[in-house]
């Protein structure tokens, strides 16, 4: 029934989990504050680097890199026209995680509608691969 090989599914899940949780970690690393923009661009860059060195932000970047490598492994197994739309699953994942972990204001009615539509769409794309 499944159109993807087990390894393709594992690498896709690896990509989706790492890139979604990576974003959440980066946002946690911001500690709910805006990165200050100074008059001198040099100071602004220092501000950005200091934020990048926080544990949560660093974890986010590491997860992001692992996600990119997982994407390469997935992409080497599946044609691009089928692989690329799978990224949209990540948008719903980030939306749900933003509400649950970051306590951001999410409209859950839209979130459910998004989940259903993207799930149906992804199934169609998956079945286009025989």
């Amino acid at each position: 029934m499944s159109v993807f090989s087990p390894m393709a599914i594992i690498t896709l899940l690896g990509f989706l989990l790492c890139s979604s949780f990576g974003q959440i970690c980066m946002k946690l690393g911001m500690k709910g504050e805006e990165i200050p923009i100074e008059k001198s661009p040099f100071k602004t860059i220092i501000n950005i680097i200091l934020v990048m060195l926080r544990p949560y932000t660093l974890t986010g970047f590491v997860l992001y890199v692992i996600g990119a490598l997982s994407w390469l492994m997935f992409l080497s197994r599946v044609p691009l026209n089928v692989a690329y739309p799978m990224i949209s699953i990540g948008y719903v994942a980030i939306m749900v995680l933003s509400g649950v972990i970051l306590k951001e204001k999410i409209n859950w009615r839209y979130a459910s509608a998004a989940l259903v539509c993207i799930a149906v769409g992804v199934c169609f794309i998956g079945y286009s691969l025989h």
């Binding site: 390894m7 990119a68 490598l69 994407w71 390469l72 492994m73 992409l75 080497s76 197994r77 044609p79 691009l80 026209n81 089928v82 690329y84 739309p85 949209s88 948008y91 719903v92 939306m95 933003s98 951001e104 204001k105 999410i106 409209n107 859950w108 009615r109 839209y110 979130a111 509608a113 998004a114 989940l115 259903v116 539509c117 993207i118 149906v120 769409g121 992804v122 199934c123 169609f124 794309i125 998956g126 079945y127 286009s128 691969l129 025989h130």
Partner: protein, 127 residues
């Protein structure tokens, strides 16, 4: 936070085209077949097409950030679907992939609706 203007429209077009071509280059660099093992992964990562693909993708992310700092998420998100159509067409034209247009486009219609809902649901605080 506004709607699309001529300037932000160009920003959007550039971001979507860069994202699409980034993926095309990644796939071109993966012509060697299925990656297995860490040595294969490192070899694939260092392929010039793959490196170029990631670089283009990074540029796309930067232009996307410029865009969403100027345009409402509920306006920007549905536009992502355009890149899915571009990638599907380029996959057939450049990569000569066997695209199933009927199932593929039907799937993209649902996904377009889905990312539109994502944009609407995440702009909780926006007017």
């Amino acid at each position: 936070m506004g709607n699309l203007t001529f300037k932000t429209g160009i920003l959007l077009a550039v971001s979507l085209l860069l994202a699409s071509f980034g993926q095309i280059f990644l796939k071109m660099g993966l012509a060697g077949g299925e990656i297995s093992g860490s040595a294969g992964l490192i070899k694939a990562f260092l392929n010039p097409y793959v490196l170029l693909g990631f670089a283009i993708y990074a540029c796309s992310t930067l232009t996307w950030m410029l865009l969403i700092s100027r345009v409402k998420l509920s306006v920007a998100y549905p536009m992502i679907s355009i890149s899915y159509v571009i990638v599907m067409i380029l996959s057939a034209l450049i990569l000569k992939e066997d695209v199933n247009w009927l199932y593929g486009l039907a799937g993209l219609v649902f996904i377009a609706a889905g990312v539109t809902f994502v944009g609407k649901g995440m702009s909780g605080g926006e007017k």
